[in-house]
Subunit: 81 residues, 2 copies
Amino acid sequence: MLAKVYVTLKTGVLDPQGKAIHHAAETIGYQGIEDVRQGKYFEIRLNPSLADDQARTEVEKFAHDVLANPVIENYRVEIVR
Amino acid sequence: MLAKVYVTLKTGVLDPQGKAIHHAAETIGYQGIEDVRQGKYFEIRLNPSLADDQARTEVEKFAHDVLANPVIENYRVEIVR
């Protein structure tokens, strides 16, 4: 069983890394790119004996406590069998 | 128009950051987590006048040339209207 966790900065939080990537894109000639925001992505392999709701609870807690900083970041959990 | 780009390490490429997160998870008592791999996630705002296939071509090239290192990383592009 696999969990995918997406962590993104909340709207309004400055993203200097994304800005740097956007600036690089403009410099080397990508015209269609208007803004870039960088987030994090985690693939978590879970014990297959966990039930779906147990798995979701455990990963939600892990994302909230460890992977994301809930003050400035949002996170989303997806469970894949 | 929004593009989402997911960058992950290829299978077999060592992921010390993921290993460190996994180790932390074990230490603080998450029993169900068997492995963690960390990737990157980008949200790219595109010029809305681009056609879907133009947008995909531009973002695929950008992901290949700038966001990912194709020697050790895979990437996946999703276009959202």
